[in-house]
Symmetry: C2
Amino acid sequence: MDLNERKLKVLQAIISDFVATAEPVGSRTLTRKYDLGFSPATIRNEMADLEEMGYLTHPHTSAGRIPSEKAYRLYVNELMKKQELTKAEKNAISSQLMANFDELDKTIEHAAHILSEITQLTAFAMTPRKEQDIIKYIRLLPVDEHTVVLMIVSESGKISNQSLRIAQGYQEETLDMLSKSFTYSYKGKTLNEAIKMNIIRDFESDIEMMRLVQDNVMPHLMRTFEDMLNINLYLDGYSNIFDLPEYSDISRARMFLNMLNQKDVMTDELIRRGEGLKITIGDENDSADMKDCSLITATYHIDGKLVGKIGVIGPTRMKYSKITSVIEYLTDNLNNAFTLPGGQNDKEKER
Amino acid sequence: MDLNERKLKVLQAIISDFVATAEPVGSRTLTRKYDLGFSPATIRNEMADLEEMGYLTHPHTSAGRIPSEKAYRLYVNELMKKQELTKAEKNAISSQLMANFDELDKTIEHAAHILSEITQLTAFAMTPRKEQDIIKYIRLLPVDEHTVVLMIVSESGKISNQSLRIAQGYQEETLDMLSKSFTYSYKGKTLNEAIKMNIIRDFESDIEMMRLVQDNVMPHLMRTFEDMLNINLYLDGYSNIFDLPEYSDISRARMFLNMLNQKDVMTDELIRRGEGLKITIGDENDSADMKDCSLITATYHIDGKLVGKIGVIGPTRMKYSKITSVIEYLTDNLNNAFTLPGGQNDKEKER
DNA sequence: GTTAGCACTCACAAGTGCTGAGTGCTAATA
DNA sequence: TATTAGCACTCAGCACTTGTGAGTGCTAAC
């Protein structure tokens, strides 16, 4: 028994209908709604075959058919046609994204917001892994007698600062010297390399300075390097799930929301996924909590190097085609924005 | 008919029981659980009186009694006794708070987390309104040929930075000059004042410089001032509501979550509330969405000046006494931390 | 090979009856 | 006179029943 033309046609119709309505699809409904050209009885036969082949399931004897995960996989791989976005949709995405183009992290967060608005699902966006981010310079700046700001600028445009307290006070010249010394040591190093370096001995010649560095500055410097490595995960539109019949059961809604709350689980799952557009359906997901969800994710790049991820999560019944298009368009926009010379401040140019 | 001793005793028992169980309280249950010293029939009579006086309601004829909002108000004003936290609880709060004492905003966010963990409700924390925050200095720092970091440090310890692009390039000396000039002009001014100032004419003598400032720097400077004024609202523990029978109905849970999602509504509501500890019960809340919730909020201060808010939101049935104590202790901690010399970096001292 | 017809299935909604926790009222009691 | 025991009554919640409609699989006719 093979998947002939007609079977595919029936399967496609069932998937369309079920994605739209979330109700099991019966043979009669199918003939009424779609002009397939054969009777309910024929469709019933085809349905029985499709079920045997594993593409459909049956919640109970007298209910209609539901596409299985295998059916969605087939649909995504073969049946799904690319759904071009309308000009209006594209404009909406681009303009909204550009209207909020400040800091790297804010932009990513905003992209997740746009995505959830358009797809009406829960969207997430992960900032890049910054292992490869290269330190540009480090500076210590005076604030008051006991407070100093530590500022680290990296190539990705990520700027980090932290104020730190120096109980015994300090000289401004010392700060300048330290700034130069740190920049000299760390410039051109990746964050990962920086964390592993030990530069304390550079200050051995001056015991007082060494103590200052060791006790006051170094711990903060290391912590800030680590902070910069951190991956941030932004979620948006979690309450959209209440519009989906899949989550009309409170315990399922709750489980879903709890899953989202475990940011580390989510982050791990996302990190594991490869580059480019990835669609995982139900059981294909590694994490047990996601076994009845589908994820569509894509990667965006900053200067072609650092890689972040963005995507949506929802029930396996989702508009794979439309969502895929939206995500692709969104990541294209992000890539462009983050890659043009001048990076994140490119908005200036357009003025 | 007045609220004699016995009526208060009965009311108190009903409130305790209902807060604990969320079930309407019957006269027999009451005698069984609490050793009140009179029979169910007597209690029934008292209950009928209390109901007539507006302190109790009746979901239906054959159900037990439920405290009205008026009853909670009476309880909060008169009956509630201060519930001291145990040493262990206090330690838990202090140590958790101190363990995460980096940047101002992060600390506030973390405080909300702690609060939601302890109360098992949804907690929120609002960063201070920074109208009164005073600018300490402004600096422009070179990143690469076309990129400059603009850094503003304020007295509250809030540091803001933004990278900006200067298409035509720049000289390092220019940046130094501008840093000095900006600091000279803005130092000691509040953010509000700074936004209203116009310092462009200070550069009139040098047309090229003036253009640079006007076109490239000023817009960012103003935007950053405005960003610094922004109030951030952090929410934590929204999914705790799923443990409350009040929200076992999905549509109520949804409404609650939607309300939380409207950050501007929440922020407005919080801003309107006065200083110190405030408890609003049900209908006392201004916002329509909160008419069946209670809010307990308190204010914390930074250097005795800037005022932020922290609190919890939940059903009117909540442990007013316990929660009040927790919030008071938490704000005390925040106040201390933010007021000691050296402010947010005080952790250093303890090492 | 396709389709009409038919018996069968089952979730769901509406209706029924029972139970238990509650009430209000009245009469007896301390 | 205030309190309490007793009793009839109420009603949500649960279990159970029944009817309906949308679905199925199978068989026989086209």
